[in-house]
Symmetry: C2
DNA sequence: TTGTAAGCGTTATCAG
DNA sequence: CTGATAACGCTTACAA
């Protein structure tokens, strides 16, 4: 047992000197020499199996194995122009929605032996643009998860490499969008059934395309059922934003409220509960995304869930397909949103 | 408004054909030509400013800008052997602990103009090893966040490139470890003060080094205060694991329980509450990590918090420092754990 | 300070 | 099927 009792040092050089990294990696030249063939033959044997004599291929494989050979991705990228890497930019790593998005993209990439490069824009369009440009030269394609960029900026990026935007439509740029109306329809129906006639919407960032779509869908669905909807002042898409909007919400005189996302919903729920408004008795709340934690608030949150992992996976797939020269985006399954009814909604 | 009503397609080729990506990127040769200098001069001007005539530097900058030049990272990596990339492998992207870890690493990397490559091992040592080997050639260093690998496997990785393991000690390999005892000491003290004499520990994966350390720390601290501690059968480090252990926990006859992590704690809490055991009256629960959500369970979770973001940032810093040729790891601040008292602990 | 030239590890083209 | 050989875009002694 290496336990050192209390008072560990934060950074441990560890027992025994930290190792050096001298032994430079084997190259196809080393293999060629060992196998008695030309380096170019090694290259072929390794990258396009089948197009080579079985027996020499064998020898090469063995040599490679014995030398513990690994291709040098940078070297491969130079002549091919392909890095076997795709980039993903999210606005806030700390937001649980991105679990599923990151996982979906990472899995799909890993499946096809691609590697996922992740960056965070921290809800700022400036850093998003910077980051995108920093990433672009080193990836084969880029996924923009919740872009706050202008359409033109995105189009420019898309001019350089395959770009897919998630849950946003940008002219001329491919996108994967889950159908909001399905879930919102169910939600409004649900509220109507509970007798609500005045509902509100707490929007997220102005630059958020989804926030707009969600607002529209709500307005549309409510209009169809003759329900009055009032739009509140925008709030930051975090728990804090929800908390801070509690006053606005109460002042709005609605009996049910949609928030832009679950984070806001949870923040609001907490604030309301803390200040004596009961949910759902005093106010019904519906969030969006069904994030981690939405099921264990008190009461648990009713929310419009979206297939985030599948959305991201689909985006990754689409990029990889395009890299493989396919024209038509591999139009994936229908991505639908869906209401998850829990405890935060009740009779008006 | 582009809204299409309901029935959106999942993958939209988008209005107007998806763009092509022909225009090949400008190189230093293009700049050289435009600026009337040699490419090598351009290279210097761009990579080591100062070592060049101010006026030619100026010309080169302008040419670069006008051509919208971006360095080709692969091309740069080839002669230098440096990719300006660091890898991070986590066991489960979906576990909120990793928010902070990912963010800490990503921010520190981005600060120094490095890029973070992320991969998930899904709690499997096989895929972890595979992933590590897949990543290694394309990164300058690797951070293993919660490795399930054997020490020897990690040491082999560390022989090739700078590797830092988080919250684990491996001989000869650098690591960043938060001091568990501090927080556990506070926690046991807290329980003792509440009159608990029999506490339990629900461990995580067998291969998890932290799980072992946490168990030891608990045992040690309890021994000092003459508190009896019983070790339960291990459970998976997820909410599900906590849920499934509810029976074991109740059977153990303890009045307070530490779980390996907050995920388990939350799962257990939910299960217990659902089946009629009240927390903390029937059982006090303490988790580890203070993840997202720990503050809004009912009751909110008492937990031992660790500075995850700082831990990861420190790891990244250490790798970057080593890449810059510094010998001594930049021994960061003391990383201490700390008890956060909330509602899941009460009198015995 | 700047130019020359070699080299980084692969792939790709072209003969043989 | 395999071997030369020229890229790929950038860095880096070494010279000038």
């Amino acid at each position: 047992m290496t336990s050192t009792g209390s008072g560990d040092d934060a950074v441990a050089p560890a027992a025994g000197a930290t190792r050096a990294h001298p032994r430079k990696a084997a190259t196809i030249y080393d293999i060629a020499q060992l196998a008695g063939v030309d380096p170019s033959t090694v290259s072929r044997a390794l990258s396009k199996p089948g197009r080579i004599n079985a027996i020499t291929a064998q020898k090469i494989q063995e040599a490679a194995r014995s030398l513990n050979y690994r291709v040098n991705p940078a070297a491969r990228a130079l002549p091919t122009g392909r890095t076997r890497t795709i980039g993903l930019i999210v606005s806030d790593i700390t937001n649980p929605v991105f679990f599923d998005i990151v996982r979906g993209a990472e899995q799909e990439a890993a499946n096809q032996n691609y590697t996922l490069v992740l960056a965070e824009s921290r809800e700022s369009n400036d850093t998003e643009l910077l980051t995108a440009h920093r990433l672009l030269p080193s990836v084969d394609g880029l996924i923009l998860a919740t872009s706050r960029l202008d359409s033109e900026q995105i189009q420019e990026l898309a001019d350089e490499k395959p770009v897919v935007v998630l849950n946003r439509v940008v002219d001329g740029v491919e996108s994967v969008v889950a159908d909001v109306d399905a879930g919102v329809g169910q939600a409004v129906e649900h509220l109507a059934g509970l007798g609500h006639r005045r509902v509100g919407y707490l929007p997220g960032p102005e630059r958020s395309w989804v926030s707009g779509r969600r607002g529209e869908a709500i307005a549309r669905q409510c209009a169809q059922r003759d329900i009055e909807v009032t739009m509140l002042p925008a709030a930051r898409p975090m728990m804090e934003g929800g908390r801070q909007s509690a006053g606005d919400v109460l002042a709005a005189g609605v009996t049910a409220l949609f928030t832009y996302n679950d984070l806001q919903a949870i923040g609001l729920l907490l604030e309301l509960t803390a200040t004596g408004t009961r949910v759902p008795d005093g106010l019904s709340i519906i969030g969006f995304d069904d994030i981690f934690g939405a099921d264990f608030t008190t009461p648990p949150l009713t929310t419009v869930a979206a297939p985030h992992a599948e959305t991201a996976a689909s985006a990754a797939r689409s990029i990889l397909a395009r890299l493989d020269g396919e024209e038509r985006p591999a139009s994936g399954a229908h991505l639908r949103t869906e209401l998850v009814v829990r405890g935060s909604t009740g009779p008006a």
